[in-house]
């Protein structure tokens, strides 16, 4: 499913979200860590994209 999201939307528009505390954080993280995407795409999904968004918003 993560692979499909990255393929359809592009890795720049997919952002990790855990749904904690409703979902156990390791279970949510495991989906991205196990997904067959490139290391660069994984970095984008797990934090890079969110950091970019926040930087644009706050000018950080």
């Amino acid at each position: 499913m993560v692979e499909q999201a990255v393929a359809e939307l592009g890795a720049k528009r997919v952002i990790f979200g855990s749904d904690a505390h409703g979902v156990d954080l390791p279970a949510a993280l495991g989906k991205v860590l196990d997904a067959e995407i490139t290391p660069a795409q994984r970095r984008q999904v797990l934090g890079g994209n969110m950091a970019d968004l926040l930087a644009k918003r706050s000018g950080l």
Binding site: V2, E3, D19, A20, H21, G22, V23, D24, L25, P26, A27, A28, L29, G30, K31, L33, D34, A35, E36
Partner: protein, 257 residues
Amino acid sequence: MTWDACTLVGPWPFARLRYESAADLLRLLERAGIARALVSPLAGAFQQDPGPANQELAAQVACHRDRLLLAAACNPAWPGWQRDLRQAQDDLGAVGLRLFPSYHGYQLGQAEVAALAALAADCDLPVFITLRLQDERLHPPAFLVSAVPWEEVAALAQAHPGTRFVMSMGRFAELIPALRQTAGTGNLYADIAGVQGPTRCLDRLVAEVGADRLLFGTELLFQYAAAATLKVEHSGLSPRDRQALCMGNLQRLLRPA
């Protein structure tokens, strides 16, 4: 060492899965560090007569019996299921049975299920009851399937104390009452394949119902293995409870004293 109590192989009718074969499963188990797995045919949920799906999967796993153990799909609402059950054990090497009650359209209170429970006890085969295959919110609009109520599973286990049952793909809120209600008979187990939360769900499950009737499960090839393995790695379970959950309980279930 880890044994997986819940894996399924084969095509999913509503979407192309990334992986579908027993060879794929073996590779993903290897990558996840899982030594053995109980595997059932996904097609067995969709075909009224799951016999051919069992045969096809048995042929795929025949060369890998040290890694893959067959839990044959069984439909007690289909004529001839008793013969199929015997054949699955005798000819295909099945070590367990997997039921898909919602997909085959029967309730666990029906007479056929009582007969299956009795025969499974005679054959010394544990019965895995699939509560759901996927989150109800994700079903295709034309194919909405309700989850099996945990109350039916608990009642079935209580009515057949000589049969070993596993509630498969239940959620946190379903496992706790079901395992509590059957504490007296002790013959109901549950896999954790469907337990995604809440935070620290495994620690909370063990605190509520103990570790001795919980089984590690991934729901490969449907889900990501790491979603299950990381739950265990990051839990605060004691070494004893971790061993029981990851292997000891399933080993005991498959090879009772």
